[in-house]
C-alpha cells in the first residue's frame, strides 16, 4: 500500500483504515501483538515504519499485556501512544488496562471485536468490549471503514484533551469491518496535524523526567484514593459534551460528522425504535427504510459512545416511543439479556416504563441479516400495539 499524497479516496479494509489513521496521528510509540482479526493493522503500521513513513518507536512486544504497559508508560513519560488488539488480547491486558485508566494515561487503542476465550471462536462478537466496560476507559464503537479512520483521529483529540485525560478504545466488528473493503477518504497529513494542534497549546500534564522528583503511581491512601476516583468519574462525564464538540470540529475540518454520542436515524416521528451499535447499524438502516415503505413508523438509534453511557442523548431519542428494541451482539451474564439492553433499561427514570425488547444476535459470526432485523422490528411493533411479546429473543 503506498501512502496517499493528497486527500484521495482509496479502497481500504477496516484494518487498513485503522492503520492509516494511526499513522496520520503521529504516535511516538506503537506497541502491539498480533491477533486475528487485528493483525493487518499492526502489519500495515510496521510497513509504514519500515518505509520511513511512520516515525515512531515500534515495539514488537511479546504479549498484549506488555503492549498496554508500553503504551501507558510512554504517555506518562510525555509521549503519544497507540496499541491495537482484540478479544483474547484485550482480556489479557486487563490488569494493565486498569493501570492505564487509573493513571489517566491518554492511550488510544483499537479493539477489533471478537468473541473472548471460553468457547474458542475466531469470530466476530462484542463480548470483548462488554467485558471491559468497568475498566475506566472511554469506549466508542463504529459502523464503517470511514468511521474507523475518522474516529481514530477523534480518539487522540479526545484522549489527550486536558479536560479529559482518559484512554480511549475504538471498537469495530471483526470480519464485518476488519476485512471489509470500502471506499475511504483519507485526510491530508497537514489537516490531521492542524486538527490535533490544539492539544499542544494546553497546560502541560505531569510527566516523568530524569532529575525531576515526580513519581507516577503513588499509593492512594484513604481520601486520596476516593478523590482520584471522583475525578475520574467527573472526567468521564465531561467526555459526553466534549465528544459533541470534537465531532463538530471534525465536521468543520474534514466535512464529516457522526452526530457525537449517538446518531438518530428517522426517529423524529417514529413510534418504535431499534437501538444497536457497530456494523449492524448499516444493515438496520436498510431495513428501517424498507419497513417505512410498508408504513411502519420505525426509527433507529446508533450507539456510538458506549462508555460513558450516553444517558441524556439516548433518553432524548427514546422518550415518548411506544416500544423499544435493543440489538446486542453480546450477552450480559447474570441479567439474561443483552448488555446494551441492560443499560438502556436503566433509563427508565428518564423515559418511563416502556415495552423494551432484547435481541441477541450476531454471536460468533452468525450474520445479523436484513431478515433478522425485519423480525425484530415486527416484534417491537407487536409490543407497541399492546400485544404479548418476548422480552429476550436469541437469533437466528
Amino acid at each position: 500500500m503506498t501512502v496517499a499524497s493528497a486527500r484521495e479516496t482509496k479502497v481500504l479494509t477496516g484494518n487498513g483504515a485503522a492503520a492509516y489513521a494511526a499513522m496520520l496521528c503521529r504516535p511516538d510509540v506503537v506497541a502491539a501483538y498480533p491477533i486475528t482479526p487485528q493483525s493487518e493493522v499492526i502489519e500495515q503500521l510496521a510497513k509504514f515504519h519500515a518505509d520511513g513513513v511512520l516515525d515512531c518507536e515500534y515495539v514488537t512486544v511479546e504479549g498484549e499485556n506488555s503492549a498496554q504497559n508500553v503504551a501507558c508508560a510512554a504517555t506518562m513519560a510525555g509521549g503519544r501512544a497507540y496499541t491495537a488488539t482484540s478479544s483474547y488480547g484485550l482480556v489479557y491486558m486487563y490488569d494493565a488496562m486498569f493501570n492505564t485508566a487509573g493513571y489517566r494515561a491518554p492511550v488510544v487503542m483499537i479493539n477489533v471485536n471478537r468473541e473472548p476465550p471460553g468457547i474458542h471462536a475466531v469470530c466476530s462478537g462484542q463480548q470483548d468490549m462488554i467485558s471491559v466496560r468497568d475498566s475506566g476507559w472511554v469506549q466508542l464503537i463504529v459502523e464503517s471503514c470511514q468511521e474507523i479512520m475518522d474516529t481514530t483521529i477523534m480518539a487522540f483529540r479526545l484522549a489527550e484533551d486536558y479536560d479529559i485525560q482518559l484512554p480511549v478504545i475504538v471498537n469495530y466488528d471483526g470480519y464485518y469491518l476488519s476485512f471489509l473493503a470500502e471506499s475511504v477518504e483519507i485526510p491530508f497529513q497537514q489537516e490531521v496535524d492542524d486538527y490535533l494542534a490544539v492539544l499542544k497549546d494546553q497546560p502541560p500534564r505531569p510527566v516523568l523526567r530524569p532529575g525531576v522528583p515526580l513519581g507516577c503511581g503513588s499509593h492512594g491512601m484513604g481520601m486520596g484514593y476516593v478523590e482520584l476516583r471522583k475525578k475520574h468519574m467527573a472526567a468521564m462525564e465531561r467526555v459526553k459534551p466534549k465528544l459533541e464538540e470534537i465531532d463538530e470540529e471534525f465536521e468543520r475540518a474534514f466535512g464529516r460528522s457522526y452526530s457525537g454520542q449517538v446518531e438518530e436515524y428517522r426517529t423524529g416521528d417514529a413510534d418504535i425504535v431499534l437501538v444497536t451499535s457497530g456494523s449492524a447499524v448499516g444493515t438496520a438502516r436498510t431495513v428501517v427504510d424498507a419497513k417505512r415503505e410498508e408504513g411502519v413508523k420505525v426509527g433507529l438509534v446508533k450507539i456510538r459512545l458506549f462508555r460513558p453511557f450516553p444517558v441524556q442523548r439516548l433518553s432524548e431519542a427514546l422518550k415518548g416511543k411506544k416500544a423499544i428494541g435493543v440489538l446486542d451482539r453480546s450477552i450480559a451474564f447474570g441479567w439474561d439479556c443483552g448488555p446494551l439492553y441492560q443499560e438502556t433499561r436503566g433509563l427508565t427514570p428518564e423515559i418511563g416504563i416502556v415495552p423494551m425488547l432484547s435481541f441477541i444476535d450476531g454471536l460468533a459470526n452468525m450474520d445479523i441479516t436484513e431478515e433478522h432485523i425485519g423480525w425484530m422490528i415486527d416484534d417491537i411493533n407487536e409490543a407497541a400495539q399492546g400485544r404479548p411479546y418476548q422480552q429476550v429473543r436469541w437469533l437466528p
Binding site: A31, N69, A73
Partner: protein, 313 residues
Amino acid sequence: MAEQRKRQPKVCDYYQNEDQFSPGVAFCSGCALELNLRFVSRVLGKDIIFVGTPSCSAPVLHGQNVEAWHRHPYYACTMTGVGSSASGLTRYYQKAGIEATVVCHTGDGCSQDVGFQALSGAAERNEKMIYITYDNEGYMNTGIQRSSATPFGASTSTTPTGQVGRGKNTGSKNMPLVMAMHDIPYVATASLSHLEDYAKKLAKAKEKAKEGFAYLHVFCPCVVGWKIPTDSSIQVCRDAVRTNYFPLWEMEGGDFRMTQKVPNPKAVEELTKTVGKFKHLKAEELTVLQEQVDMRLRHLQALCAATAAETDA
C-alpha cells in the same frame, strides 16, 4: 570523609552522591534491601528513574498520595508490567532525545515468576535499561511465600515443614544464567557483602544500558523470612559467596568470567546452619542442595572456560 582517614573503603570512590532516600523508612531492622536501594541510589546517581512494583521495596519506592520517601522519579506498575512499562519509558526517551537511565528494581518473585514474560521480552528486544533483581528467595512482603527463587528445602509459608512437608521440594530457577542466554550486553550477579564488586558492576551496567539491556541479580537476605538475626544479613551474603551458593560472576557480550575467586569453598552447610529457614534439613537433604550448588558451579565454570575471557576482574 575527613582527611585524617587512614584508609577509606574503595567502594566510596563509586558513590556519585548521597543516597536520595529519606533517613527514616519502613524497612525491617537489618534489612539487606534497605542497603541495596540506598547503595544503588548512591552509585547510579540521582538522575535515574526507578520502575518499581508491589514488593518489599514498594512501601519505600512508591509514594503515599502526594508525598514520597525519596527524590528519584519513579514509575510504579503491576508486577506483570515492569519490563514492559520500562520499555515504554526508555523507548519514548529515545524518541524524544532525552538522556535517561531507566532502572527496574524488583524482587525475585516479580522477575522470575509473574513478571518474567515482560522481563524476558524486554531483554530479547535489547531495550536500553538496567534491570536489578534483589533476590530474597521468596515473596517476602506478602508473608514469606515461596517463589521460583526459593531454594530446595527452604521452609516458607507456602512450603512449610510439618508432619509430612520438608520445605520446598524443587530447586530454584537459575535466573542470572537464564538472563545471560538472552544475548544481551551485560549480566552480573552481586552480593551486598562484596560492595566494591557490586559497585563496579553497577557502573558497568549504567554504561551498557546506553546500548542495550543490562541485568543484575543481587543476593539480598530477608531477616524475617529467612529467620536470621538482624545483624547477620551481610555475613549471610558473605557465606553465600564463600560456599559457592551464590557465585559472583559477570557476562559481557557473551564472555563469562568469575569476578570473585573462591579458592577454598566451604560446604553449603556453612551457610544453611546460620539460616533458620534451613534448620530442619537432614543430611540427605543437605546433600541434594550441595549437589545443586556444585552442578551450578560446573555449568558456570564450563561457560567461563568456553568463552575463555583473558582476565578476571
